[in-house]
Every structure is written in structure tokens, then in C-alpha cells.
């Protein structure tokens, strides 16, 4: 088991390098960072040239990537353009946690990202919990009542649920629970930001503001996963060992929740673990609509302003998170399935 984990981790490392290289190359032509950084004050060509050298943009792409990875504070760069490198570099490189400076905020990119990261995590984790609980309940319910009216209704609703584009869900929820509730004099849900600035950032405020965004992100996954739970439960319930358990007179509840569910939960774990990329993608649209100050919205803002360091930082963070989750899911699966654990 430990060997398996170590092997997966080792495999992940070259993959991450590969991803970072691909992304880095892709980002080179994303826009003019000088224009972004300098803004209107950058008119003199000497300033432009100096900034170019400072950012290392005069070097070939491969060298730039290299410096991006391991920094340049161990070498000297040529800041005054005379062809002689004299000033020490100031970057420590990604491998030491330095993603450069945000071209927009003039702060270290990592700092900018980490400010927003917890907000997105809050949404992600809560949404995932909602998805897991909801799809288990609904999926099992539908599986136990196969072909009944309830099952057909659930199936149809699931189809609709995961066919809906996220913004449609968001706008629909906003329209009903915010606008119309307000118009009808009912207590309504907020649609902007994390908390009401007049009231301040309290736990209750944040929780209240979280409701609509969480459901927006969760609905699509929840609909898809409940169908999956239903089908894995049905498959488990159709197996021979269920017939054996019934012949032993084991009570129905044990058959469903122990005999069947224990088997069905294995593929379900896989699916849940691999859900993360979709949830993250959903966060981008959701955070935009609800003005939630998270990483998704940060990404959107900084992509449109060609802020390469921050964008790269976010992308690498996502890549690490996704790979990490894949490994955790695989390990969990291997650990839970006795056929693999006690091979």
C-alpha cells in the first residue's frame, strides 16, 4: 500500500512539470504584460526596456521557464542594458513558492491567491458535502423504488438537473429566491458577495450568503451523481450475494445498507473524487454571478488583464489539487476494497 502511494506521488511529479511547461508556453502570448503593469505611465522606451529586462522577458522561452521554476536570485541579471549582468535577481522560483509578482496588484502572486483561496474552499467543501449526502439519499431511494413513479420523476429531474448550464441554475435561483421572494415579502436570499458590508463579516452572514452559490455549484453534480448512485445500487442489488443474503432471512435494511451499499460505495467514491475539476469549473461561473470573492473570480479578472503570474499560480494550484485528489481517491478505493487490499 505504501509503495503504491509513493509510486503514484513519484508519477505525479513529472506530470506536474509537464503541465507547468505546457501552460507556461501557452501563456507567453497572452497579452502584453508591460502594458498591464505600466499602464499609462509607461511611455518612455527606456522604461519599457528596463522593465522587460527586469521581468526577464528578453530571454528565450526555455530560459524564462527555467527562471520561473527555480528563480534567479542565485545569478545576476542585466538591468541597465549594457550587456553586463550586474544586479542579483530577486526571484526565488516556483519550487520555493515564489510565483512572481502580480502584474495587476503589485503584490506577490501567491499572496493574492491565498487571500481568495479560503473563500473558494469554503464553497467547494460545502458543495461537495451537499452533493455526497444528497446523491446518496436520492440515488438509494430511486434504486429501491425502481420503475415506480417516484423513480421516474427522480430520473427525469436528474436529467434536467445535469443538463442545465450553471448560469441558468444561478439565474433561476436568483430570480426565485432573491428577486421574487423579496417582491412577495418573504425572507429572501442575498445574491452578492460574502457578507453584507453594513452588517459585517459574521458566521451567520457568510452562511446565509453561501446558500445560493452552493446550490448552484452542487445541482449539476448532485443530479449526475444521484443517477450514478442509483445505477450502482441497482447493479449491486442484482448480484448473487444479495440473493444469498435474502435466502438467509437477513432483514431488508441490512441488505440494502450493508450488503449492497458497501459494494456500491466503491465506484461511487471514484466518481466523487473525480468530481473536483467540475466543481472548480463551476466555481468560476458561480463566483462571477454572485460576486463571491474567490479564486474563480480572481482567475477570470486576471486572465482578462493578462496577469500571467497569478494565472499560472492558480492553474498550478488547481493541477496540484486535482492530482492530489486523484491519488487520494485511488488510495481510498484500494484500501476499502478487500480484494485489492489483501491481495
Amino acid at each position: 500500500m505504501t509503495r503504491y502511494i509513493v509510486r503514484r506521488l513519484l508519477q505525479a511529479v513529472p506530470l506536474l512539470f509537464f503541465i507547468s511547461l505546457l501552460l507556461f508556453v501557452m501563456m507567453q502570448n497572452m497579452g502584453d504584460p508591460l502594458a498591464t503593469m505600466g499602464g499609462r505611465t509607461m511611455t518612455r522606451s527606456q522604461d519599457r526596456a528596463r522593465l522587460t529586462r527586469q521581468l526577464g522577458l528578453d530571454k528565450p522561452v526555455i530560459v524564462q521557464y527555467f527562471f520561473w521554476l527555480i528563480g534567479n536570485d542565485w545569478t545576476k541579471i542585466d538591468l541597465d542594458g549594457d550587456g553586463i549582468a550586474e544586479s542579483p535577481g530577486i526571484r526565488k522560483g516556483v519550487l520555493r513558492g515564489d510565483f512572481g509578482y502580480s502584474l495587476v496588484n503589485r503584490k506577490p502572486a501567491m499572496e493574492v491567491i491565498l487571500e481568495r483561496l479560503p473563500n473558494t474552499l469554503l464553497l467547494m467543501v460545502s458543495a461537495e458535502v451537499v452533493v455526497i449526502l444528497g446523491s446518496l439519499l436520492l440515488g438509494i431511494y430511486a434504486a429501491l423504488r425502481q420503475y415506480s413513479l417516484a423513480d421516474n420523476v427522480v430520473t427525469t429531474l436528474s436529467f434536467i438537473g445535469y443538463s442545465m448550464p450553471i448560469f441558468f441554475v444561478a439565474l433561476g435561483l436568483m430570480y426565485i429566491f432573491a428577486v421574487n421572494f423579496k417582491a412577495w415579502g418573504l425572507p429572501y436570499l442575498p445574491t452578492v458577495g460574502m457578507f453584507d458590508p453594513r452588517v459585517g463579516k459574521s458566521v451567520w452572514q457568510v452562511a446565509w450568503h453561501m446558500i445560493l452559490p452552493i446550490f448552484t455549484i452542487a445541482i449539476t453534480s448532485f443530479a449526475a451523481n444521484s443517477r450514478y448512485v442509483r445505477s450502482t445500487m441497482l447493479e449491486a442489488m442484482g448480484q448473487d450475494y444479495i440473493r444469498t443474503a435474502r435466502s438467509k432471512g437477513i432483514p431488508r435494511r441490512s441488505i440494502v445498507f450493508i450488503h449492497a451499499l458497501k459494494n456500491a460505495s466503491l465506484p461511487i467514491i471514484t466518481v466523487v473524487g473525480l468530481d473536483l475539476p467540475f466543481l472548480l469549473g463551476g466555481a468560476v461561473v458561480t463566483e462571477r454571478i454572485f460576486a463571491w470573492p474567490g479564486m474563480g473570480r480572481l482567475f477570470l479578472d486576471h486572465v482578462s488583464r493578462a496577469d500571467t503570474p497569478v494565472v499560472m499560480g492558480i492553474l498550478m494550484l488547481i493541477a496540484v489539487a486535482v492530482i492530489f485528489f486523484q491519488i487520494i481517491t485511488d488510495v481510498l478505493y484500494a484500501w476499502l476494497d478487500p480484494r485489492i487490499r489483501y491481495h
Binding site: Q239, D240, Y241, R243, T244, A245, R246, S247, K248, G249, I250, P251, R252, S254, I258, H259, K262, N263, L266, L336, D337, P338, R339, Y342
Partner: protein, 329 residues
């Protein structure tokens, strides 16, 4: 020796998208205490469905037990509520062992758990006594080092051991009747013999009534006292083992026995197969089901279904013809 099971006129059908499957068409038989009964027939003849109907293990829909009674120790199993039959009968009075021990055991639960859950559900045993008894049961079915084996998972056992574990599970609560549905078909011949041995031993020790479903006539010879031969959802012959092999009376039984490959056959003699195809169970039965393939058939066979009639002590067949004279009885 009293009668423990009496089944009368059992009719079971399946309602599917392709139509109604007439799986069991009026089956009647009995079983006495401590008696070993074999049920033989080809695949699809309804032998498994009959027994599953008695224990009410078929999902209803699409199955439907259309009519009949099944009296077990004075109670009609077919009229019992699901709660009662689940709690009182299944696993407790009547137990079943199935064909493929790999798929019939839950792969994510330990063998110990699967035995102990029966004990806890029916006998209300606590953890410790349940575990002890489970270890004891495994020892009884011939599995060595049984206390350690309780923590093992099915995939860690060999095929024969798994089947023994299944038998242990079935006998955990000391049922009076054990129904074995082709328990050795999926096993090697040598293991088969061991399992049959085990069954005989257990039957002796516990005074167990046994119904053994098989399509292997060789196993029948070693184990049973009485035999039921089934075809297309009907019982076509019911006899003692000796009568069956020495004096078979039904054309189907004859054909089955003739089809057995024999070591003392002449070298260039062809294997005798039964001509024709198995019956289409989607068609409502009319007349004798074997008539299309029967070389003794007369016109009456195609229109009228012969019921079971006595042809000797403890020997009944469902046929209009006397096969020795080739004339109607």
C-alpha cells in the same frame, strides 16, 4: 418420519417485456423428514424456480406465484407475509446453498461476518458467542484453523472452501431443510466429490432434510433416495433412485439416461442426443410438453396433458404411453 414439506399445484410465471414465461406449470411433490431428494432436469426446466418460489425468493414483479400451496411444518409458505417468512423461515428453518460460491458470497464482507449475521438475526446471539459458534461451524464443514479464517474475505478462499463456507452459513441456525441448487456444478470433479461427502455426513449428523437440484445424474446416484425429473415446468417422473436407473418409464428420462456417455459403449457408436430443441417457455403449455421431441408420441399427447399417475410403489410418471409396449396405458 413425518412429512416436512408438501407442495401442491405450484404455478409460477414471469411477466416480461417479451411476454409471459410459463416457468412452473403445476408442480406437486412432498418431502419427508430427513429425506434426501434430488431434482434433475436440463437448464430452464424450472427446478430452481420451483424452489425459489417455495422460499419466496423471486422478485415479484416480474415473477408471479399464480397458484398453489406449499405447506412446511403446517404453515403455507406461499401465503405468509414477507416479514414472517424472512424472520421465521429463511435461514432459520429452510436454508439454501447456491451454485457459484464466488458470486454468491459478498466480496466486501468477511466470511465471519456473513455467518455471524445469520446468528445475530435469528438467534439473537451477542458478538462473542456468535464468533465462537461461527468458528465451530467452519470447523464442522472441514475448514482448518477456523478462528483465523473468520477474518478472511471470500476471494482469499479456494473454490471448494468457499462452497463449504456457504454450507456453514446455511446451517448456522440449524434449519430443518437445506435446498442445494447445483452446489457442485461450478467446482472441479474432485472437489465435487468432497462436497457430496460433506453433505452426506452433515445429513447424518443433523437429521437434515435435503433437496439437491442438479443436472448431473452421476451426483444423483451417490446422494439421493428419491428423484424428481422435471421438464418445461412439469414433473415428468418421480421415483426412487433404484427405480429411476433400473426401470425408467418416462420417455424423457429414457432419453436422458441414453444420452449419458458410457465407457462400455462400442467405439464407433454415436452419442445419442435428444432431437429437437428445448421448449419455448413463452408459449402457454398445451398437451404434454415433451411431445414434440418424443418418439413415442401419439395425437393425444399433443392435446391433453397427462397428469402424474402411479406405475409402481413410489413411482409416478406423467405420460400416456407405456414405453415397453409402445401403446397407450
Amino acid at each position: 418420519m413425518g412429512r416436512i414439506l408438501e407442495v401442491k399445484d405450484l404455478v409460477t410465471r414471469f411477466h416480461t417485456a417479451e411476454g409471459t414465461v410459463y416457468a412452473v406449470n403445476g408442480v406437486s411433490f412432498h418431502l419427508d423428514e430427513g429425506e434426501p431428494l434430488a431434482v434433475v432436469g436440463e437448464s430452464g426446466c424450472g427446478k430452481s424456480v420451483t424452489m425459489m418460489s417455495v422460499l419466496r425468493l423471486l422478485p415479484e414483479p416480474p415473477a408471479q406465484i399464480a397458484s398453489g400451496t406449499a405447506f412446511f411444518k403446517g404453515r403455507d409458505l406461499l401465503k405468509m407475509s414477507e416479514e414472517v417468512i424472512e424472520h421465521d423461515v429463511r435461514g432459520r428453518e429452510i436454508a439454501m446453498v447456491f451454485q457459484d460460491p464466488m458470486t454468491s458470497l459478498n466480496p466486501v464482507l468477511t466470511i465471519g461476518y456473513q455467518i455471524e449475521e445469520s446468528l445475530k438475526a435469528h438467534l439473537d446471539l451477542e458478538d462473542e458467542p456468535a464468533r465462537e459458534r461461527a468458528a465451530d461451524l467452519l470447523a464442522q464443514v472441514g475448514i482448518p484453523e477456523s478462528p483465523k479464517r473468520l477474518a478472511a474475505y471470500p476471494h482469499q478462499f479456494s473454490g471448494g472452501m468457499r462452497q463449504r463456507a456457504m454450507i456453514a452459513m446455511a446451517l448456522a441456525c440449524e434449519p430443518s431443510l437445506l435446498i442445494a441448487d447445483e452446489p457442485t456444478t461450478a467446482l472441479d470433479v474432485t472437489i465435487q466429490a468432497q462436497i457430496v461427502e460433506l453433505m452426506l455426513e452433515l445429513r447424518q449428523r443433523r437429521k437434515l432434510s435435503l433437496i439437491w437440484i442438479t443436472h448431473d445424474l452421476g451426483v444423483v446416484a451417490g446422494l439421493a433416495e428419491r428423484v424428481l425429473v422435471m421438464y418445461a415446468g412439469y414433473i415428468v417422473e418421480e421415483a426412487t433412485v433404484d427405480d429411476l436407473y433400473d426401470r425408467p418409464q418416462h420417455p424423457y428420462t429414457l432419453a436422458l439416461l441414453a444420452a449419458l456417455p458410457r465407457v462400455d459403449r462400442r467405439r464407433n457408436q454415436r452419442l445419442k442426443s435428444i432431437p429437437g430443441a428445448p421448449p419455448n417457455l413463452l408459449v402457454q403449455p398445451h398437451g404434454c410438453p415433451f411431445a414434440p421431441r418424443c418418439e413415442f408420441a401419439i395425437s393425444r399427447c399433443r392435446t391433453e396433458n397427462p397428469g402424474l399417475t402411479d406405475v409402481g410403489p413410489n413411482h409416478r410418471i406423467a405420460c400416456w404411453i407405456d414405453v415397453r409396449t409402445r401403446k397407450q396405458r
